[in-house]
Symmetry: C2
Subunit: 387 residues, 2 copies
């Protein structure tokens, strides 16, 4: 397996993109990434795209052929593959694309992610998202997706003393970061009081504890590391890439306060990279709900189990703290177009490692981590990137 | 890239499986394939599953985690990936699994395919299938999926003199083959008159020119060729594997009577295998409609463009002819659970190359080809297998 680098990136504005269809979003981000890499269409060997549920959201499947078509590459007849792992679909596309280059089978490969979620009602969108959980054993029995994370939050609070204020601090921090990101869906700051007084969705999670419904797309271009400098001034190496699964339903898990899939994927990725969690300079983690960020920073080995809430409250994961988490604003404020999120995480890390993150730039960032979760933890994907 | 072999296979009965859910079908075929290979759960490194539209058919996404869970493998936390390319999702799963073993990244990998289509009305199923075509530029303008293939048929008839009787002969042959396959959905034989007097769906395609709506699942187990004999008495080598894309919509194509994606994928697969089309002993091709089989046997290089219809009428592709096509009964008679079809094709070829195909066994079969198409040709995937 040969080393792989990211040589180009693109990301659309996230939000309610009523001006743009699924294919518009793909074309917009694809062109950005290709231009950023400076590759020609003829050089591209393959495409991978992460998408959770275009079938439900816009009645379109066959998303691989669609993106090749939209990108103007269909006449080259290159392979184009859609992958799906619910909200981890983007991370999965990055991983499959990376493997195809690492194996030597392909050279220049695009990994993209897209979701167009606002063409249906919010009720229909919530139901489509519930397909990430176990439909037969969770949803048919009345569980909504926020309710599953609410159960994890309740047990974490009971077992470790995590408070609603600590949960709210995740939202406060990520909205502050998002206010500095021109691509973010929500650029307004919020306070702990705002979060705690916002409508309750699934106790203890208020609406400001939840990530929003978003349209958006992102893309990265990969190349063998040995050829990366031909295209990019600062190519970013993928030094770890791992994927793990767990039971689809929560009730079958060993422990509700740990995502074992995250633990297993992180362990493999750290091994591949030959580093310890303490060597990570910044991370984008999967904060679909505020509790999810607390679980993530514990399961990724940044903090002891149970210490995540206080770490956030103490500012350890803020932009000016020792380990900035979700400088993009995270899923919470930047938005969560589910299939695109995993690629947007890589986009943000690359931007930071290149030193191009503007007012939210992390000083001397050398190594970053991207952590993407499918459903309530049935899939987790971890990538470690290095300048 | 190291050589890869198929060491185990499984396939459920195809049909209206009202007794079985999506997860039942997965468990049934997974156990068959694992037992056939004689591998233990702990030896399995990864799973790939092809599924087109469980989101629409059974309101469930996150199919990778689901199959790991159903197969009892979730506690091992191995990576499990769903891929989608409409009706070519199964072939795509086989190809991605093959690449992961060929790269040396993984050793024992399962490629599965599944679709549970009969839990919704036939109208809803037809609409879900239309998501394989270009929703915005074809379906919104009134095209159904059969109508797209009907247009290809009309032009083929006009340009090459292909007749409705020749189209019907595809159905007659495939039903005859299917009558010998205990797993086939339709085991009754039909005549040319039956086909021509059956209800018209989209002129010139009658209902007996169309593949049915089907529940089913299939799985194969892959291993590095050098280790294959530890598991299988007759391991089957994958000597060619290729994937190509084309425009999603028909109106953007160079030619309506050729699937360029098939031509490109086949050319690459023959190159990899180092063989000519004339060296293929039998093939499973994508006969979603009778015209599709005629296009396929031309585009795969078995017959000149325009000569497919007469080749079938002359019996050249029958079980006792020089190049038996669709000995399983094809999509037409064996059934077409879309995500499973590409894996079922590989299952049938392996069965034949092992000499285990019973009354439909092809004598001295050494090399077989499997050809899987997504939509109206937006994706094509070709695998060549050898004893």
């Amino acid at each position: 397996m040969r080393p792989v680098s990211i040589i180009g990136i693109g990301c659309t504005k996230f939000g309610e993109r009523w001006d743009s269809s699924l294919r518009d979003l793909i074309a917009e981000t694809g062109i950005m990434a290709i231009e950023d890499a400076g590759v020609s269409g003829e050089e591209i060997d393959a495409l991978y795209v992460g998408n959770m549920s275009a079938g439900r959201f816009v009645e379109q499947e066959h998303i691989g052929a669609l993106i090749a078509d939209c990108a103007g590459l269909s006449r080259l007849h290159i392979p184009s593959t859609r992958v799906e792992a619910a909200c981890a679909s983007g991370g999965l596309a990055l991983r499959q694309a990376m493997l195809s280059v690492a194996s030597g089978y392909q050279d220049i490969v695009i990994a993209a992610g897209v979701e167009k979620m606002t063409d249906v009602s919010s009720g229909a969108a919530a139901d489509a998202l519930a397909a990430a959980a176990d439909r037969e054993w969770e949803c048919f029995l009345g569980a909504t997706f926020p309710a599953l994370y609410a159960m994890m939050a309740r047990l974490h609070m009971r077992r470790y003393g995590t408070t609603q204020e600590e949960l709210a601090e995740v939202a406060v921090k990520n909205h502050r970061h998002g206010s500095m990101n021109p691509l973010a869906q929500y650029r307004m700051e919020v306070t702990v009081d705002d979060v705690l007084s916002s409508p309750m969705v699934a106790d203890p999670l208020h609406i400001l504890d939840c990530s929003p419904i978003t349209d958006g797309a992102a893309a990265v271009v990969l190349a063998p590391a040995e050829r990366a400098r031909r295209y990019a001034e600062v190519p970013i190496r993928i030094i770890g890439s791992a994927q793990a699964s767990d039971t689809l339903a929560l009730h079958d898990r060993r422990d509700l306060t740990t995502l074992d899939a995250t633990v297993h994927a992180a362990r493999k990725a750290y091994d591949q990279a030959g580093i310890a969690p303490s060597e990570i300079d910044l991370a984008e983690v999967h904060d679909c709900f505020t509790i999810a960020e607390i679980l993530a920073i514990e399961d990724l080995g940044f903090f002891e189990k149970g210490a995540g809430g206080s770490a956030i409250e103490d500012g350890l994961t803020s932009l000016d703290g020792p380990l900035p988490i979700n400088t993009s604003g995270g899923l919470k404020a930047c938005g969560h177009p589910v299939g695109a999120t995993g690629i947007k995480q890589a986009y943000e890390i690359v931007l930071q490692l290149r030193g191009e993150a503007g007012s939210r730039q992390v000083d001397d960032a050398e190594i970053g981590l991207a952590h993407n979760v499918g459903g309530s933890g049935g899939t987790a994907i971890v990538h470690i990137l290095s300048r």
